[in-house]
Amino acid sequence: MSDTKMPLDLDPADLLPPAEPVQLLDDEGTLHEVDGYPLDLKDSDFRDLYRYMVLARRVDKQAINLQRQGQLGVYASLLGQEAAQIGGAYALDQQDWVFPSYREMGAALVRGVDPGKVLHLFRGTWLSDHDPHEHHFGLLSIPIGTQALHAAGFAMAAKLDGSDLVVMSYFGDGATSEGDPHEAMNFAAVYEAACVFFVQNNQYAISVPLSKQTKAPTIAHKAVGYGMPGYRCDGNDVLATYAVSRKAVDRARAGGGPSLIEAVTYRMEAHTTADDPTRYRTPAELEQWKRRDPIARFETFLESEGLLDDAFRAEIDEEAQAYAKRMREEIYDAPHGDPMELFEHVYADPPASYAEQRALLQRELDEHGTS
């Protein structure tokens, strides 16, 4: 009865993620080689990674400011998670796709999505404002973990179509408790779809710490149950998040199937601008993680490699200011747009009943300017 045996010819321990997360840059910014995670990066890549991280932080800050100025309803900051997000997305090719949650401004940048456009969701101009097909970047997904299934399905489709594109789905530590990511990982594994599940373990789901979310040794261990590799990396080390993602992405592209990445990081800001984290975490904890800042660490490394001079810093700074400016221009007092558009996109083929409803709204607009 072969079914009563282990179908794998593996040393069982090979299934398990390593005890320590993969780290290439230590907390002091010194590079250490790690077996199995060669770095294939050129100087320009190092610089790009840095650039994206700095831009992401500036863009994030601008978004928070816009929210404080009443220009956005709410915003979910990625502060502290720059290395995790950007290292992941940087490992993708242009043809590849990203299915993000609501916190993926950094990944959006890497995909070339205009941050100003992303903010329309948070401003409430419309429910989103970018074309996913243009940058292969799905709509920000708010219902927790649901996008993991879209990613798995997209990867299943690509495989059926003979494409070798890879899909990366981001979600949080909290999301691992939902049914959908579970089903997504199982589907991806069963169909050997080229889908990389990238978990930013930022230690919290709003106020709920990881210890109350799961008793798994680590989130990477959850991969075992789907028969896929579970990788674990220091999420504040952009070289580690990149190298691990590269490995997972290459493997998927080569037909090796899906895998799960846990990037161990920390949400330095409130859950969203509507949240008050002082209710559930201590300044001491924050302080500890501040010392592990992903950008500072990478700067030390770049400096020691001679890759970070004043000219480059100035260049990035200028780019960052320009981004921020464009965001302000895009969002500041952005008008609410034409209410009649509300009926435009619900159906390709709208029901006859819309005529009456459109007429009602039009009458309201004519009479009162609002509903």
């Binding site: 989103s128 097909h133 649901t146 299934l149 399905g153 489709a157 049914g179 996109h345 006859a352």
Partner: protein, 323 residues
């Protein structure tokens, strides 16, 4: 040629997949088994495991991956094995399938069909006889369809599959074996058109899916009483054909809406509300609703007491007439 609803649906799937290789079919047991009702019979054999495949046992997974496949460019047709097992997929249907097009300002289309064998009358165990259509009729962004005849089964399923909008396709499982003389392929009226199945003058019976047949039987039985009932098959709940509905009531002056689902806040309420609003001056009696009681679908041996049947509908006609 006499064909059954099951044959019509199966043929529709075969034809759609033959015509467009972007059409894929998946769900639980739809592959080698051909589905528990055999509606997907021989699709896998003919089109291969890539285009018709069994999934792991997870309905949210089925609908969620269908959304991803549709984003890529496929036209997934998925099966929920039974009405009562649609519920795990509720979030994916309501929060994504229905809303993605609008959310994306039209840049993402989701031409997904969710096939759902629904309704009772087959003596099944619990969760296998539900009528969940109204949960979905209330969701903007979905089309909700339910054929009452084999030709409509074929035609509406084909139209659902070519629709750029997501469709919840409710198959009246007790009518899978209902026969009709028809030659496939057949094209009937498009989405959004209700059809007068039997013209009459005394009162109108409104129905869809499994109850169309029951209403036709009622109309026959009513002849003995000297009543000439009109039967309107709604066909698509969303889009809803107010015009035909109102026109019929203007003619007969009396309306009875029939469905299997519990009456309270069922789809009959929408029909009644529209008729009462739009045919206000033509109504000679209140719109009556005939359906299941406001209780969970009962065990098999008691379903006959729950389900609307000819007698219960005639009783409503009588009440309408005595108003």
């Amino acid at each position: 040629m006499a064909i059954t609803m099951a044959q019509a649906l199966n043929t529709a799937l075969h034809d759609a997949m033959a015509e467009d290789d972007k059409v894929v079919m998946f769900g639980e047991d739809v592959g080698i088994l051909g589905g528990v009702f055999r509606i997907t019979d021989k699709l896998q054999e003919r089109f291969g495991e890539g285009r018709c495949f069994d999934t792991p046992l997870a309905e949210s997974g089925i609908v969620g991956t269908a959304i991803g496949m549709a984003m890529y460019g496929y036209k997934p047709v998925v099966e929920m094995q039974f009405d009562g097992f649609t519920y795990p997929a509720f979030e994916q249907i309501v929060s994504h399938l229905a809303k993605m097009r609008n959310r994306s300002r039209g840049t993402v289309q989701l031409p997904v069909v969710v096939r759902i064998p629904f309704g009772g009358g087959i003596g099944a165990v619990e969760h296998h006889s539900e009528s969940p259509e109204n949960y979905f009729a209330h969701v903007a962004g979905l089309k909700v369809v339910s054929p009452g005849t084999p030709s409509d089964g074929y035609s509406l399923l084909r139209e659902s599959i070519s629709s750029a909008d997501p469709v919840l396709f409710f198959e009246p499982k007790r009518r899978y074996w209902l026969k009709e003389d028809a030659d496939l392929p057949v094209r009937t009226e498009p989405f959004g058109r209700a059809v007068v199945r039997r013209a009459g003058t005394t009162a109108t019976l409104f129905a869809y899916g499994p109850m169309v047949r029951t209403c036709m039987e009622t109309a026959s039985a009513a002849e003995d009483e000297g009543w000439d009932l009109e039967v309107v098959d709604l066909r698509t709940l969303n889009p809803f054909d107010s015009a035909t509905v109102v026109e019929s009531v203007k003619k007969t002056g009396r309306a009875i809406v029939v469905h299997e689902a519990q009456v309270f806040s069922g789809f009959g309420a929408e029909v009644a509300a529209q008729v009462a609003e739009r045919a206000f001056y033509h109504l000679e009696a209140p719109v009556l609703r005939v359906g299941g009681f406001d209780i969970p679908y009962p065990a098999a041996k008691l379903e006959e007491f729950f389900l609307p049947d000819v007698d219960r509908i005639l009783d409503a006609v009588q009440r309408s007439l005595s108003f």
